[in-house]
Amino acid sequence: MYGSGIIKGLGVTLKHFVATYIEDLRYVLKGGRYTDQAMPVRQGPRARGVFTVQYPEERLPVPENFRYIPFLVFDTQKNEDKCTSCGICAKVCPPQCIWIVRTNDPKTNRPVPQPAEFYIDATVCMSCGLCAEFCPFDAIKMDHDYELSSFERFNNLVFDKARLTKPDTYHAQIHPTDWAREQAEIAEKAAKDAEKAAAAAAKKAAAAKPADAPKPADAPKPAA
């Protein structure tokens, strides 16, 4: 029959339209249409009715793995940057948007594990997350803040060290699983070190310093 397709289609739209208001009512009674409890259901596999949210008034929560422009983690307990300026992130960065100036000891002129300057050009960064993935010190992590629009292209979007550094409490808050893993690794390492130190002390080894000092960043060999 001609027109049956149109009627079927309009039926779907009508069903969807009605379902939206029924769902809205249900969630208003539960305390809000777009609360954190409501969103996963209303946007999940069992969603009914309208599927969209009214950004920016309403926002979807981002998952823990969500990645946007990286930030540098500041260790609030030791009161220092976690970054050792080993340069792995700058080397693995696909669009080469990370610039690091290594600090040299003024007396010996040997590198000190602290970055003097650290830049990420957010206009170039592709948010791939390779820097965070390959950082051996958990010093660079991907952020959740995706609202970076700016009226000034260069002044505001070349992030320097001050802009990039965020406390580890922030990291713990947005990446709870990752943080728990890091803490477990630190605890495990500390336990191992203590064990080793105890063993060394018991043996009264000749060397005063057992091999418990963490190996400095494997300075990557230049490409052959």
Binding site: V12, A47, P63, C93, P94, Y119, M126, F154
Partner: protein, 607 residues
Amino acid sequence: MAGKVAAPVAELTGPLAVLKEKFSEALSPGEFEGAVIKNENLVEVAKFMRDDLGYDYLSSVTGVDYPAANEVEVVYHAYSARHGLHNGKPLVFKARAPRDNSVVPSLVSVWPGADFQEREAWDLMGIKFEGHPNLRRILMWEGFAGHPLRKDWHEAYFEQDNKPFDSRWPGGHHTRAEDRVPLADNVAFPPGFDPTDFNSQAETTLVERARSVDVSELGQLVSSDGNGSGSGNGHIADAIQTDHLIVNLGPQHPSTHGVFRMVITLEGETILKLEPVMGYLHRNHEKIGERNTFIQNMPFTDRLDYIASMSNNLGYALAVEKLMKVTPPERAEYIRILMVELTRICNHMWAIGFLLNDLGAFFTPALYAIEERELVLDLFEAASGSRMMCNYMRFGGVARDLPEGWIEKCRDLVFNRLPKATDDLDHFLSENEIIRARCEGVGNLTAEQAVAYSAAGPLLRASGVPYDVRRAEPYSIYDRFDFDVAVRYHGDVYDRYLIRLDEIRQSIRILQQALDQMPGGGEIQAGKKQYQTRVPAGQAYGRVDGPKGELGFYVVSDGNPNPYRYHIRAPSFINLTALGEMCKGQKIADVVIILGSIDIVLGETDR
């Protein structure tokens, strides 16, 4: 050979041995699994391969530049698609030519699918294909100086041959490329060239080509359809003085799915000739890829077919894994299958939704299809951190394990929601009279044509060729799953729509099996994860059956941290070779849905 990887010369076995017997002089074994064929015999040998050995499908044609040996090389990968011979293994052969006079015979007469690929090799690598009917630039513009994939060609803002750049560490003060290399001293004009006096011949050539319609074909085309302007009393042009109308569709056109242009010659409303023009989104992905290290290419592959980044990741990972000879652990394999099959569903939902858009059902059906896609993207985001630019696969594994609760969400989607959503689409769309009236019998492509034009994926299978890389040459762990190769036989737009529904259903089947079989835990990465991958010298062609078709990555490594050559066999690009043929004799109003039914993504077409 200097500049090339010294590897043991492979013995000629199997089909190559047959070739050697027949054309003993023309063939010589190379340091790869294949043979080098003398240029003067190339066409003859290729015909024999196609007709007598059953290699009817030319998958990939590309060039490699070896400045040290003063040589360029053309690499061909041919498969047996309709006959399904040779276990799905390719016949790899090469032709060589000196660098400064690189002429190789064209194989368009043997495999018409070589058309665009040879044009691309000419455009980017500067290899002349003698006998090619239309050897013009395809991705760069007419008048561009040089051939950018030659090793000695440098782009604007050129900094260094290979990444990582030395200026980033340890003394990395931020500079902008625009400041560092002012355009002025980075641009070289060919001798005797005056930029103020430049007048591109490209448009003139296009119009001339559009005007030059083969008149003998004309009567047949116009009268072949019942309502053609020439039907009834013979050919109208015989009686009245008429002119052909040249219509330029695109590049800025809402229905071309991106910046894509078609120059169409019309007789009344009937298309006599259609010529695709592309390259507006060209960024020389392959050159960027050769500057990058191996792992750095992974996020770049996301940007090819940005609807299906997981498939791109897998194709590239497979090619490099072939060279590295690593196999991912069990759990990683299953995660990969889950991701690429979800990608296929995403992509087909998108394709169906936008086909409806092209048909005039403005966005209402598309949004229902996109809703399902959104749910899949939520899963991608939870696992990989990004909805579209997933960057999830690594060589020998995946980037990170699935987060808690992911599998349950995925199960819910795959077992409860997606089957019903697919049935809904089927229920509301497949029997819709407008869809049937507009799509049935439109944009036909026969099985012979599809194979000849190297069409791939749904385009090929909707024409009655049950050729699916997952079945023909199973990669990853596809041999463990029970699924059917979807195939339809009419080769029209309607069948291309239906086959996408079929493929979604098959993907759901695979997903359900994968979710049931998947190990609960275990490693997700073979070996230690390294930021600088060591890839042994060699060359590999990794191909996957992406949602758009056969997606191949041809990677040559010389043992350095950067790929020596990195080529992508882009299904969106090669599927367009058949577009002109499909549109011939059709109405101008149907061009948009014929293009929509191929399902192209310009990020991949133009690379």
